[in-house]
């Protein structure tokens, strides 16, 4: 039998029908929805009086538009946004789809709540009307983002017309140095292969550096693969992944566990499987990475300098510098920030908050800096409070807020003013992403924490004992 990549195995195990040389009808095990990319899909369904094919394979959460101010009972003040939330509830009730509603204690960002409650299992196909669905590759599940037309298609059929991707393999040898995280690793990779370096590919990550990563760190890695254009990211499920899933998926019976283990053991690329493209990186080269521009691939080591606008990229570099207000050749370290944001589906998990707490313990947020932490979910917030992390953050001067997507894309009322420079643990530094005219520097949560306590972009490795 021909050798196969993990990606091919996942596609084949979900192929209902081969439609043509490029497309298959792909069965989707889990479909996640939010309030802003699903309404038109439900409307389309209702217009033609179509039903939701398999409601129990779908789940929804209010995530993007929800306010994060720490009120006991959250009220969405913007009328249009409130309508999106009530509309989602109505649609879910009508079709029997489970929902994490606005004031559900476990509400959160889709890519945080789905795995934290054990919904993501190796070998699944998971889709969502959100590009960061690539996150689930960390557990050996094929996840990818879709548009609203496809949301409607999944609702009606529990399948997608799926255009096959190519296979890319990225191997990371060695060990991540102290003071660096998987966020630094993925920023380094994106900076080297480019914002469309993985376009058209599903990327499988492997290597000793990946083996060493915690599951949450792997989520961060796979989450941001889409910023290199990837159509999916995968890591073959290992013992860590299986332990993570079993610890959360309480519904899997003892008997099923044995079958699951047998099946999940097959979820790896065959030894001689061929990839269309391969990269090898050395984890030893990873240092804290920070973006200077307006595309996630415009990232450099924190010790580096803003590039000179010449060569084939000169126009893009100049355009980015014009927006971010930086001059060519200046060092990144020392650039003052007025805002720090910790959160998002990339870095809003408990381990991220622990890293932030490690850095800011017994320190203070610099005066003139507004620093906020938005946990990824109610469960993350709860855990951080019971571990005492929340108190450390509050004592340091951080705002301790309620869960949501918040300032990652600023669709709710957490929006930056023009000219404000933000050290952000999020995933996109696009123009206007966090607010019109606001400037985003992507970095790890620990690096954002270092910026909060120093008031400027700082190499967290130089902050003494508080290393992650």
């Amino acid at each position: 039998m021909k050798s196969k990549t993990l990606y091919r195995k996942l596609v084949e195990s979900h192929t209902v029908a081969v439609l043509d040389a490029q497309n298959v009808l792909l069965f989707c095990d889990l479909h996640l929805m939010n309030e802003y990319t699903s309404p038109q899909a439900f409307a389309g369904l209702h217009e033609l009086e179509r039903k939701v094919a398999m409601p129990g394979q779908n789940i929804a959460t209010v995530s993007h538009i929800i306010p994060t101010n720490p009120d006991a009972h959250r009220v969405i003040k913007d009328p249009s946004s409130a309508l999106q939330a009530s509309n989602l509830k109505r649609n879910c009730e009508r079709h029997g789809i489970p929902l994490f509603d606005t004031n559900d204690e476990l509400q959160g960002i889709e890519h945080i709540i789905a795995p934290e409650h054990g919904m993501i299992r190796p070998g699944m196909v998971v889709i969502c009307g959100d590009s960061h669905t690539t996150t689930y590759g960390a557990l050996g599940a094929l996840g990818f983002g879709i548009g609203t037309s496809e949301v409607e298609h999944v609702l009606a059929t529990q399948t997608l017309v799926y255009r096959l991707a190519q296979d890319m393999h990225i191997r990371i040898d060695g060990k991540l140095p102290v003071g660096t995280t998987s966020k630094d690793l993925i920023l380094m990779i994106i900076s080297r292969i480019g914002a469309q370096g993985a376009r058209g590919f599903v990327v499988e990550f492997s290597g000793s550096a990946i083996d060493d990563l915690s599951i949450e760190a792997r989520f961060t890695l796979c989450n941001m693969a889409v910023e290199a254009g990837a159509r999916g990211a995968l890591i073959a499920p290992d013992e860590k992944a299986i332990e993570y899933v079993f610890a959360r998926a309480s519904d899997i019976t003892e008997e099923q566990r044995e079958d699951a283990l047998k099946y999940w053991a097959t979820l790896r690329s065959d030894v001689d499987a061929e990839f269309d493209m391969e990269y090898i990186f050395d984890a030893q080269e990873v240092v804290p990475y920070v973006t200077w521009g307006t595309s996630p691939d415009q990232a450099i080591p924190v010790t580096g300098r803003v590039p000179i606008a010449d060569g084939p990229q000169s126009v893009s570099i100049q355009k980015a510098m014009d927006y971010t207000g930086l001059e060519e050749g200046i060092p990144l370290e020392g650039i003052a920030v007025q805002h720090v944001f910790i959160g998002s589906c990339t870095n809003g998990r408990i381990e991220d908050l622990r890293e932030v707490a490690t850095v800011v313990k017994d320190r203070q947020v610099q005066s003139g800096v507004r620093a906020m932490v938005v946990p990824g979910s109610g469960a993350v917030r709860d855990q951080a409070e019971s571990e005492g992390i929340a108190q450390i953050l509050i004592d340091a001067g951080f705002e301790w807020r309620k869960p949501g997507c918040s300032m990652c894309l600023a669709m709710n009322d957490d929006v930056l003013e023009p000219g404000i420079r933000c050290a952000s643990s999020t995933n996109r530094n696009f123009e206007g992403r966090q607010g019109r005219g606001a400037i985003t520097h992507l970095m790890s949560p620990a690096m954002a924490a270092a910026a909060a306590v120093t008031g400027h972009i700082t190499d967290v490795r130089n902050l003494g004992d508080n290393n992650v």
Partner: protein, 220 residues
């Protein structure tokens, strides 16, 4: 030749690499529950300044570019967020086709699913068209034939490729869900085989949600 086979019209140059969907359709226009009114938000920050005043120098604000039907764009057009609002907005703005050397993957699917033609050409050809377009004092006129998959611009004829499936959808307006629903029995049969092998994925969302213990209930 029927109208649906031809896209003929003014083309505007938009020479920006990695023009993401946040810029094509900013967040403040994503709060609807329908698709209406999105033409207003298209490329908002490029069209208007911080005070909401029109930027006269931006190509789509120039009077000669009114009724632009085609965009000549930089590589990786539509990267980033999955928001289909970007496609709906471009269409409501009057755009029928975008020409670039590459597109964000989700944007590309969204475009084709809505009948917005995304034409992929080699970068050197895009550069040539972009060059002509920027040099011309009047807007370039481009003709795209969906049947023959040819582009006529100035004295050039260029060929492009799209999948047979997408070509059919553009020409015939295929109802993709209707087509997939013809597989309904196959899907049901597949699902039951799948769940026999992996019972732990059946109703995974509903069962998980039901089993969740709320933090407040732990102490009860």
């Amino acid at each position: 030749m029927s109208d649906s086979q031809l896209i003929i019209g003014k083309a505007a140059p938009l020479d920006i690499a990695n023009l993401d969907t946040d810029q094509i359709m900013p967040k403040q226009f994503l709060r609807g529950i329908d698709k209406k009114g999105l033409d207003k938000g298209v490329l908002w920050d490029l069209r208007f300044d911080g005070e909401g005043q029109i930027r006269p120098e931006f190509v789509l604000n120039k009077s000669e570019y009114a009724d632009t039907k085609i965009l000549i764009a930089g590589p990786n057009f539509g990267c980033g967020s999955s928001r289909e609002h970007a496609v709906w907005g471009l269409q409501q703005f009057g755009i029928k086709a975008v020409i670039a050397s590459s597109f964000g993957e989700i944007f590309y699917s969204n475009a084709m699913n809505n009948g917005l033609l995304a034409v992929i050409l080699p970068q050197k050809d895009v550069d040539e068209i972009m060059h002509q377009s920027c040099d011309n004092s009047i807007p370039l006129n481009i003709e795209i034939n969906l049947s023959t998959l040819d582009i006529h611009v100035s004295n050039m004829t260029l060929s492009f490729n799209i999948s047979d499936r997408h070509q059919r959808m553009l020409l015939e307006g295929l109802d993709m869900i209707g087509a997939s629903l013809k597989f309904e029995e196959d899907i049901t049969a597949f699902a039951h085989r799948h769940w026999d092998q992996q019972p732990w994925v059946r109703d995974v969302a509903a069962r998980t949600k039901l089993n969740l213990i709320l933090p407040g209930e732990k102490t009860n």
